[in-house]
Amino acid sequence: MPSSDDLAQLMRLARNGDDEAYRRLLVRVAVWLRGVARRGLVRAGRSVEDSEDIVQETLLVMHLKRASWDDTQPLEPWLHAIARHKLIDHLRRKGFADHVDLDLHAETLAAPEAAEAGASADARQMLSSLGERQRHIVEAISIEGRSARDVGARLGMSEGAVRVALHRALRALAAAYGRERP
């Protein structure tokens, strides 16, 4: 089982353009987040059906805000802080006003977790809030698993332009999550 130092190392590698390291990091964080989200929802007396929405929204925010991690520090406290922030945010948005007591440190990043149960309903709905081109780019890269270069060739765009559009689309998705009200 990799130690927590490896998480910071993966993020450092990712910062230097190692996509495979970043993918491995995100997979591990997603697994951990799933446990955090489910237990947080249970503790708040909520059904766990929203958990994948929380996982995805938190991953999105973590990705967009990753420059806020100071690479001289361990990664886990930073991950905890963001997961806590987004879980509380999610519960409040869904009308949960009580004090939310979360013990994230009970979860460890090494703990094995149940596999992803289903697709996120929110994410599909959020995708529909994007413009046609942005949605097309996100779907081609995520759902169809194409590379940015591939997508660019198909749309007559440069690879760089596809990445710029993708970045804007991810920011728009995160903003759409933030605006969402029950």
Binding site: V27, V61, I141, L170
Partner: protein
């Protein structure tokens, strides 16, 4: 969309935004500060006896205090722009509080009690209360805009810290115009002006710095 599919999109997006929040923060402060400098030169300008004032300890301490405030508020702003909560953010301002306490003590010892009131009220109090926030406005907007890309543990606190940094930079400009150099005046009115800007920054931050 499945989470695994989302991850592919995240990996493909390599734009990470500014790596060093310190650099981005400095640029925002500079951009807002240049606008305020233009406003300052057009509206007030430095006092006529600047050279003579520089030779007095009260003016020098005032300038040192506002520049120290800029430096400390800058560090505070960086710290509270991160997702991890900062314990006792007020401790960042301890050196400024110490300098203020020493300067006030010297002033009280140096000036007869009968003159304390006149020193405290000064001649420009209301202008100070209006000018410092006015010169803080552009830096505050620029700082809040920059901080939107960060992930502050407390958006309100981050907004207030941006307000403090903006107020310190506004005060750094106004200090060159103001004739009231007594520590009694500076500590009272500059702080009040900063509180106004911090309140505005905190309220704005709670809205615009949510993530």
């Amino acid at each position: 969309m499945k989470t695994e599919q989302l991850l592919a999109a995240l990996v493909a997006d390599r734009a990470s935004g500014p790596r060093s929040s310190g650099r981005a923060l400095a640029l925002a402060l500079l951009a807002g500060g240049v606008l305020s400098l233009g406003l300052f030169l057009a509206a007030l300008g430095p006092r006529a006896d600047l050279a003579a004032a520089l030779a007095t300890w009260r003016f020098d301490v005032k300038i040192v205090a506002v520049l120290l405030a800029v430096g400390l508020a800058f560090r505070l702003c960086r710290a509270v722009s991160r997702p991890l909560p900062v314990a006792h953010p007020g401790r960042f301002l301890l050196p400024l509080a110490a300098l203020a306490a020493v300067a006030v003590a010297i002033e009280l010892a140096d000036v007869p009690m009968a003159a304390w009131r006149a020193r405290l009220v000064g001649s420009n109090a209301l202008i100070c209360l209006a000018a410092v926030p006015a010169f803080s406005l552009a830096p505050l907007v620029a700082l809040l805009a920059m901080l939107r890309s960060t992930a502050p543990a407390s958006p309100a606190l981050a907004g207030a810290a941006a307000g403090l940094l903006a107020a310190a930079s506004g005060a750094a400009l106004y200090a060159f115009h103001c004739f009231d150099d007594s520590p009694l005046f500076v500590v009272t009115w500059y702080s009040l002006a900063a509180l106004i800007v911090m309140t505005v920054g905190g309220l704005a931050g709670r809205r615009v710095l949510r993530w």
